[in-house]
C-alpha cells in the first residue's frame, strides 16, 4: 500500500512540476485558445444598470476585442441572481449548450453558482495576464468563500461615503463622529435596507467596528462568536435608527433610492461600494463638483469582483480570451479612469512594465477619489458568507420583525 502511495506521489509531483516548469507551455496553449476564439461571438452577461459601465464595454472593450482578436462581444444586460437561476435550471435539465459565455459575478451569487457546479473551471491559472500580473493570494477568497480558480478577477472596489464638502465641513469619519453628526442632523442620513448590496456592506462595517475589528471573523464561521458580538453592533444601529431619515421607520429600498435622496438633498451623506462613483457622477454633472468621499477610520471594506465562465458556455475559448483581455494592463487602466468607470485594478502594479506603471500612477482620478494610500490604510477584508447571512438575518429580525 505504502509503495503505491509513494509511486502515485512521485508521478503527481513530476507531472505538477512539469506544468509549472515551462511557462511556455501555458502560453502555447493560450495561443491556441486565441486562435480558436477568432471570428466568434462572446456573450457577456452583466448588470446593465450603469450607463458608464455599459458605455465602457461598448465603446472600449468591444472594439478592442474586435481589433485584437476578431471577437464580437455581445453584452447581455442581466442581474446576477437572475442568470444564476437560469443556469441552475439548465443544469438540472441537462442543457449542455447554454446562451451565455461569460458572467460578471461575485459574492453570494458566486457561492450559489460554484456550490451547485454551475461554473467551468478552474480557469484563471490558464490566463497569461492572471499568471503574470495578479497576486494569487489577493484573490483566493471571494467574500470568504474559496475561489479555487473558478473566477477571474475583474476589478476591485472599496466602500466609501459621499458628501458635499460645501455643506459638511466636519467630516464624520469614525462611527462615534457619525453618531454625533446624526444626532445633530436628524433625518439627514440613512442606509439602504439589507440585503441590498450596499446596505449590507454598511452594517458589516459597523459590525467590525463595534465588535473589535475584522481579524476574528476571518476563516471558519464561529457561531458562538457571532452570538456573543451581535448585540454590540445591533445596539449601535438601534441607537442610530430614530435619528435616521423618516425616523428610521423605513429604509431606502435600494442604493438607487438612496442616491436619488442624496441628489435631491433629502439626505446629506451617501455611500457606495465603488470608490470612483462620486468622481464619475461629478463628471456627468449630476453631483456638484464640491462632492468628496471619505472612509471610516474604523475600517473600510474592500472586495474584488470577478468574471466567470458557465459550465455550459458555448464559446469557452472566446470567454477565456475576453476574461484575459479585461485583465490586461491596458484594459485595467482604461477602466480605472473615472471618465469611464473608475473601478480599481486587480493587478499588482509593481509587476507591470515601467511605462504602463507610470500611466497608472499618473492617472488623475479627480479630487473625489481618495488617494490609494489612504484607501489602503483603512481597508479591511470581507467576512465569510455565513457571518454575512447571519448578520443580515439579525438585522431583519431587529428592524423588520422577521
Amino acid at each position: 500500500m505504502k509503495k503505491i502511495i509513494l509511486i502515485a506521489a512521485l508521478i503527481f509531483t513530476v507531472s505538477c512540476s512539469g506544468k509549472k516548469g515551462s511557462e511556455d507551455a501555458v502560453f502555447e496553449s493560450f495561443e491556441d485558445t486565441i486562435k480558436a476564439a477568432e471570428n466568434t461571438t462572446v456573450r457577456f452577461a452583466m448588470w446593465g444598470g450603469s450607463s458608464s459601465i455599459n458605455s465602457w464595454i461598448d465603446t472600449y472593450a468591444a472594439p478592442e476585442l474586435e481589433k485584437r482578436y476578431k471577437i464580437r462581444l455581445v453584452r447581455i444586460p442581466s442581474d446576477a441572481a437572475v442568470f444564476v437561476n437560469k443556469l441552475l435550471t439548465e443544469k438540472q435539465a441537462g442543457r449542455d449548450t447554454g446562451s451565455m459565455d461569460l458572467l460578471w459575478i461575485n459574492g453570494e451569487n458566486f457561492k450559489n453558482a460554484k456550490e451547485n457546479g454551475l461554473l467551468y473551471g478552474p480557469v484563471s491559472g490558464s490566463l497569461p495576464n492572471f499568471v503574470k500580473y495578479v497576486d494569487p493570494e489577493t484573490v483566493e477568497y471571494d467574500f470568504g468563500y474559496p475561489v479555487e480558480g473558478y473566477e477571474i478577477p475583474y476589478g476591485r472596489a472599496q466602500f466609501v461615503f459621499e458628501y458635499d464638502s460645501a455643506v459638511i465641513k466636519d467630516v464624520p469619519d469614525t462611527y462615534k463622529k457619525l453618531m454625533e453628526w446624526v444626532k445633530k442632523n436628524p433625518g439627514k442620513f440613512t442606509y439602504p435596507q439589507p440585503p441590498d448590496f450596499t446596505g449590507s456592506a454598511f452594517i458589516r462595517q459597523v459590525f467590525y467596528a463595534a465588535t473589535g475589528g475584522y481579524k476574528q471573523y476571518q476563516g471558519e464561521y464561529n457561531r458562538e462568536l457571532f452570538e456573543k458580538n451581535r448585540e454590540k453592533a445591533m445596539a449601535y444601529l438601534k441607537e442610530l435608527s430614530p435619528r435616521l431619515w423618516n425616523d428610521g421607520k423605513v429604509y431606502p429600498k435600494s442604493l438607487a433610492a438612496l442616491e436619488t435622496l442624496f441628489e435631491k438633498g433629502e439626505v446629506l451623506i451617501s455611500m457606495n461600494y465603488n470608490q470612483g462613483n462620486a468622481a464619475n457622477k461629478i463628471l456627468q454633472g449630476r453631483y456638484p463638483s464640491t462632492v468628496k468621499t471619505f472612509v471610516m477610520k474604523n475600517g473600510s471594506l474592500y472586495n474584488t469582483h470577478f468574471t466567470a465562465i458557465p459550465f455550459n458556455a458555448p464559446n469557452k475559448a472566446g470567454a477565456m480570451v475576453v476574461a484575459n483581455f479585461l485583465l490586461s494592463p491596458e484594459a485595467q487602466l482604461s477602466k480605472k479612469d473615472p471618465a469611464n468607470w473608475g473601478d480599481f485594478p486587480v493587478l499588482e502594479i509593481s509587476k507591470l512594465h515601467a511605462e504602463i506603471r507610470k500611466k497608472f500612477t499618473l492617472l488623475n482620478s479627480g479630487g473625489a477619489v481618495l488617494p490609494v494610500e489612504v484607501l489602503e490604510k483603512y481597508a479591511v477584508p470581507e467576512m465569510s458568507p455565513q457571518y454575512l447571512e447571519a448578520l443580515e438575518k439579525e438585522w431583519e429580525k431587529v428592524f423588520t420583525g422577521k
Binding site: D79, A81, E108, G187, S254, E389, G401, K402
Partner: protein, 290 residues
C-alpha cells in the same frame, strides 16, 4: 342544448395543452420545491418544514393581512373608477370621444415606472413638496406630510389605482358600448332621470364584467411585486417582496420558503376564484332569460 363532451374537449384542446404542459408543470415543480424535493443539491429534514416554519412566524400573517388589504383597496377603487370613467366617456359626444385614448397611458407604463413616478411626485423632496413650498404652504422638506412608505401601503394603493383603472376602463367600456341604446331611449321616453338610468339599466348590465375585472385585479395584486419593490414599508411589508427576497437574494437552500409562500398565494387565489365562480354561477348572464 348539450354538446357531446368529446367535441367540447376537442375544441378546448388548443388551450388545455399549453395550460397543462407549461403552466401546471411549473406549479408542480413549485409545490415539490416547497416541500424540499427537487431543490438542486440540497436535502431537508422533513416535507413540510417550510410551511411549519412560516406559519409559526408572526410576520407571515402580518404580511398576508397587509397584502390582502392593499390588493382589496386597490382593486375596488380601480373598478369603481373604471365604471365612472367608462360611463363619462360613453356619454361624451362623438367628436370628443377620441380623448378616451388618454386612459391607455398608464396601461403602457411599466409598473416600476409608475412606482417611481409616485416617488418623484410625493416624496418630501419631490414635485408636490416643491410646489407646496413655492405656494408658501410648507417651508421645508420636513413640513411636507409623509405620504410614501406608509405602513398601510397607501402609496402602493395609489400607484396600483393609477395603473389598473385603465384596464378596468378597457374591459368595462367594451361591454358598455354594446349596451342597446334603445333601452336608454325607451327609459328616457318613459320619464326616467339619468340617475335612474344609471342605477337600473347601466349598472346591472356591467355587473358581470365588473366582477370579473375585480377578481382579476385582486388576484393579480396579491402576487405582484414590481410596485411594492419601490414603494411601501418593509415592516410588515407585502408578501410578494418577501418572496422575491427569498427567491433571489437569499441562499439557494432557502428556496423552499419562497415556494411555500408562493403556494400559499396559489391556494388563496384558487379559493377566491372558486368562491367567485360559485357566486356568479347563480347570476350568469347567459342563463338569464331576458
Amino acid at each position: 342544448m348539450n354538446y357531446s363532451r368529446i367535441k367540447i374537449l376537442l375544441y378546448l384542446l388548443p388551450l388545455l395543452i399549453p395550460f397543462c404542459v407549461i403552466f401546471l408543470s411549473g406549479i408542480f415543480l413549485a409545490v415539490m420545491q416547497s416541500m424540499g424535493i427537487f431543490v438542486f443539491s440540497y436535502t431537508y429534514p422533513e416535507y413540510f418544514f417550510a410551511y411549519r416554519e412560516l406559519f409559526s412566524q408572526g410576520w407571515f400573517y402580518h404580511s398576508l393581512a397587509l397584502t390582502l388589504f392593499v390588493s382589496l383597496s386597490s382593486s375596488l377603487i380601480s373598478v369603481i373608477g373604471g365604471i365612472y370613467i367608462s360611463y363619462r366617456i360613453w356619454k361624451l359626444p362623438e367628436s370628443l370621444k377620441k380623448w378616451g385614448i388618454l386612459t391607455r397611458i398608464p396601461l403602457i407604463l411599466p409598473h416600476i415606472t409608475v412606482g417611481f413616478i409616485v416617488i418623484l411626485l410625493f416624496s418630501r423632496s419631490g414635485f408636490f413638496s416643491s410646489l407646496s413650498n413655492f405656494l408658501g404652504l410648507t417651508d421645508s422638506m420636513e413640513s411636507f406630510p409623509l405620504i410614501l412608505y406608509s405602513r398601510l401601503g397607501i402609496d402602493i394603493i395609489l400607484a396600483g389605482i393609477y395603473k389598473e383603472t385603465p384596464f378596468a376602463v378597457i374591459m368595462i367600456y367594451a361591454v358598455l358600448s354594446r349596451l342597446d341604446k334603445r333601452l336608454i331611449e325607451t327609459a328616457l321616453m318613459l320619464g326616467a332621470g339619468s340617475r335612474q338610468i344609471f342605477i337600473r339599466i347601466i349598472l346591472p348590465h356591467l355587473v358581470p364584467v365588473t366582477g370579473t375585472v375585480f377578481i382579476i385585479l385582486f388576484i393579480y395584486n396579491i402576487g405582484s411585486f414590481e410596485i411594492p419593490y419601490v414603494l411601501g414599508s418593509s415592516n410588515p411589508g407585502m408578501l410578494s417582496i418577501r418572496i422575491f427576497d427569498y427567491f433571489f437574494q437569499k441562499d439557494l437552500s432557502m428556496r423552499p420558503f419562497a415556494m411555500a409562500m408562493l403556494v400559499v398565494i396559489l391556494i388563496f387565489s384558487t379559493l377566491f376564484i372558486y368562491l367567485y365562480s360559485r357566486l356568479i354561477a347563480g347570476v350568469d348572464i347567459r342563463d338569464r332569460k331576458i
